[in-house]
């Protein structure tokens, strides 16, 4: 039934059960609805006394802090791998305050262990002289930190507006098919790759695109996802011809540089003009190669 019917024609207006139009129940009706003592037996349900309900206890327990909060770990008691410790110390030196190094420290932990494991966080906390809880609070805020174990490789498929318009949902499905996972964020069975959808990665010019192990690739078409995961599993370089790093300034072909004299007369441009004249006189090896083709 269309909700756009004029008000008078709405059949559910007679139906008091509808959520928006139900009339206020009368006092008598309310009284009737209340359970009288003895109703329990009639219904055949035994409601246990409140303090013995385990679910409630669990809720209480999770809200009550257990004893003292974890203190700053003692560096003499926590075993920290030397490279990790020195990387974190180097990061701390770069900032006026040591806490600024918490994101670099978590990056270091994640690079070493594959995720921000509780042990790794404790080690970083020991080096930085902060509580593990503090670092944990930072790690849970940021999308790129994994607070649970994840695959050895990571594929982030951008699913935001520009990529969506160009078929990002299909691309995400392709990657999940290739990885053999059912839901975004899952790791493949062999533990090799985790595929998930991600918010705008800032590469709408190569939409639809994906970030594979922190490098951008696009625009990806049918078959690319499968090829990428095959190459990754074989330990080869991934989608070489689709790397963002090798692309010229975006926009590709089309009318490019403005001929506005204000720009060509620009002080900084004079050098380029001279160089260009030189280049014209003597074709570069690049140009020669192009001509031959």
């Amino acid at each position: 039934m269309s909700p756009l019917l004029p008000k008078g024609d709405r059949p559910w207006q007679d139906d008091p059960g509808h959520i928006h139009d139900a009339p206020e129940p009368s006092d008598e009706a309310l009284k009737e609805a209340e359970f009288a003592p003895g109703d329990q037996e009639e219904l055949g349900v035994q409601v246990p006394p409140l303090d013995s309900i385990t679910a409630l206890q669990a809720i209480d327990e999770s809200r009550e802090p257990h004893g003292e909060p974890a203190p700053v770990p003692d560096l003499s008691e926590v075993k920290v791998p030397r490279p990790l410790a020195s990387e974190i110390r180097r990061a701390m030196k770069r900032y006026p305050q040591k806490r600024s190094a918490s994101i670099p420290a978590l990056w270091a932990v994640q690079r070493r262990y594959g995720w921000c494991s509780p042990e790794g966080i404790e080690q970083a906390a020991a080096v930085m002289g902060v509580t593990p809880a503090y670092l944990q609070s930072v790690a849970t805020f940021y999308d790129l930190f994994h607070t649970e174990p994840t695959g050895r490789h990571e594929v982030l498929v951008c699913t935001n507006i520009s990529c969506w318009l160009r078929g990002a949902d299909d691309l995400l499905a392709d990657f999940m098919d290739a990885a053999g996972t059912d839901h975004p964020g899952e790791t493949s069975e062999d533990g090799e790759v985790m595929v998930r959808g991600f918010e705008c990665l800032g590469a709408c010019d190569i939409a639809p695109m994906a970030s594979i192990d922190e490098r951008y690739y696009g625009p990806l078409t049918e078959g690319d996802a499968e090829a990428a995961l095959e190459q990754m599993r074989a330990g080869k370089e991934v989608l070489r011809e689709k790397r963002l790093a090798d692309r010229g300034a975006a926009g590709g072909s089309g009318p490019r540089v403005g001929t506005d004299p204000r720009v060509t007369r620009h002080e900084l441009n004079k050098v380029t003009a001279k160089r260009k004249a030189k280049a014209k006189a003597k074709p570069s090896p690049d140009a020669k190669r192009k001509k031959r083709r």
């Binding site: 269309s2 909700p3 756009l4 928006h20 900032y95 006026p96 806490r99 600024s100 190094a101 918490s102 994101i103 670099p104 990056w107 805020f141 940021y142 999308d143 790129l144 994994h146 699913t159 935001n160 507006i161 969506w164 318009l165 078929g167 949902d169 299909d170 499905a173 839901h183 975004p184 964020g185 985790m194 998930r196 918010e199 705008c200 800032g202 709408c204 190569i206 939409a207 490098r215 049918e222 963002l244 010229g248 300034a249 975006a250 926009g251 089309g254 009318p255 490019r256 540089v257 403005g258 506005d260 204000r262 720009v263 620009h266 002080e267 900084l268 004079k270 050098v271 380029t272 160089r275």
Partner: protein, 454 residues
């Protein structure tokens, strides 16, 4: 001027091989402006030149850069300069290109801006996803230190400018300037109450100047050629060029550097090649996903400038145009937009946390065809209740575009109330996966994509 042409200032040598190395950058005239600023000009002169140029911030707010720098108090305390490279707005990718291709232009701009503001400690806050660009910047900063352009004695002037590249870890909110400061201090990236403004009390409680990558990349050009020269570009109120990221349903998505004031149609149809198959432009975001959408009819003939976009009820923002052609379902578009802000809301202020959440829920009901007319009015009213009621503008950034979509395409929403929106990507058979096996299951997966991993 030709019908559609770029005016390349920041992008002048963008495709020069090895431009990211200091040798090439210097050979092409780089680091001359910094010499001029330190050897021929007093800090006050540098500041005046920037102020006179009328350069407006390119990050989204469009505030005068010179004015912002002049708000920093004088005195001997530690002062900070943060370059905001946490470019995460859907549709924006100009800073990525500028950092990846020409990192030294940015570093030169930072050094000069630091002199103007008297800042001695500078940071580039780059989003964690830009790993390649972060590596390039790391290397460029190292080169600049080796060349004596950074450090405790810049170019023998006795001035100290230290620069650190700081990587984020994936949070859109950190692009908000006070959240950026919190994140840089090693905390969760929650915005702060303003005032006090960062210029007075920012990073580590000290005076802080925060500028976008593109803003700072303009600085060397202004200093080397002068404010008057700079003002000969663009319009009176929006001088200079703008790197515009055009994406979505266009044939040549990419970054185009144009003079502000160019006709929007020339940008979309000329430079970016128009829509595929010359389809009608249904609507477009003129300034990233947080700007209210303009329909093709009302927006294409406007000049692309801060003031013209504001007058049309939208904004230039970060200068990122997302074009949606006539196939696009507005309800789906609204849902995509709202989901992004729901995911990225830090949860500190109630209107934003709850408003984004309920907007997504109501729009999902509309897509499934389970909504009631009350939902549509509630969606509209939620948007007006978010705007202006939070510490930062993240909530507003959802409310403005979604509100504009409901306002401009109300019949389409009403249709969705009746029938829902058939497919996730409502484009008929256009999507290549339309006939795929298990397509429906995947659409479910698409619904879950935001929840992935968290």
């Amino acid at each position: 001027m030709a019908a559609a042409a770029e005016t390349r200032m920041l992008f002048r040598n963008i495709d020069e091989p090895r431009l990211a190395s200091i040798r090439t950058y210097k050979r092409l005239g780089g680091y001359r402006a910094v010499q001029k600023a330190f050897k021929e000009m007093a800090p006050e002169q540098v500041l005046k030149e920037l102020d006179d140029s009328g350069l407006r911030g390119r990050g989204g707010a469009g505030f005068s850069m010179g004015k912002k720098a002049s708000f920093l108090p004088r005195g001997d305390m530690d002062k900070y300069l943060c370059c905001n490279a946490d470019e995460s707005e859907p549709g924006a990718f100009k800073d990525r290109e500028l950092m990846q291709k020409n990192p030294h232009q940015l570093i030169e701009g930072i050094i000069i801006a630091a002199r103007a503001a008297g800042a001695n400690r500078c940071f580039i806050f780059i989003r964690g996803e830009y790993d390649l660009q972060g590596d390039i910047l790391d290397k460029a900063v190292e080169e600049a230190y080796d060349a004596g352009l950074l450090g405790s004695d810049v170019l023998g002037s006795g001035e100290q400018v230290e620069l650190v590249v700081h990587r984020g870890a994936g949070a859109y909110i950190c692009g908000e300037e006070t959240a950026l400061l919190d994140s840089l201090e090693g905390k969760r990236g929650n915005p702060r109450l303003k005032p006090p403004f960062p210029a007075v009390q920012g990073l580590y409680g000290g005076p802080t100047l925060i500028n976008n990558v593109e803003t700072l990349s303009n600085v060397p050009h202004i200093i080397s050629s002068g404010a008057e020269w700079f003002k000969s570009f663009g319009t009176e109120e929006s001088p200079g060029t703008k790197v515009v990221s055009v994406s979505g349903d266009v044939r040549r998505p990419g970054n185009y550097e144009v003079e502000l004031g160019i006709q929007t149609r020339k940008l979309i149809n000329g430079l970016a090649g128009g829509t595929v198959g010359r389809r009608k432009v249904k609507c477009f975001f003129p300034g990233g996903s947080s700007s209210p959408v303009l329909t093709g009819e009302e927006g294409l003939d406007l000049p692309y400038s801060f003031e013209a976009m504001a007058e049309a009820g939208s904004m230039l923002g970060s200068g990122s145009i997302i074009v949606c052609d006539e196939r696009t379902s507005i309800v789906q578009l609204a849902l995509r937009t709202a989901r992004f802000y729901h995911h990225e809301s830090c949860g500190k202020c109630t209107p934003c946390r709850e408003g984004t959440n309920w907007t997504v829920k109501m729009l999902e009901r509309m897509v499934r065809g389970e909504a009631t007319p009350i939902d549509l009015d509630t969606v509209a009213s939620v948007q007006t209740n978010i705007i202006g009621h939070c510490l930062c503008v993240l909530g507003d950034s959802m409310a403005a575009p979604v509100g504009s979509m409901v306002e401009k395409f109300r019949p389409e929403f009403e249709q969705a109330l009746e029938r829902g929106v058939p497919s996730l990507n409502d484009r008929g058979g256009a999507g290549r996966g339309a006939q795929r096996k298990g397509r429906e299951a995947r659409e479910e997966a698409g619904h879950l994509s935001m929840a992935g991993g968290r």
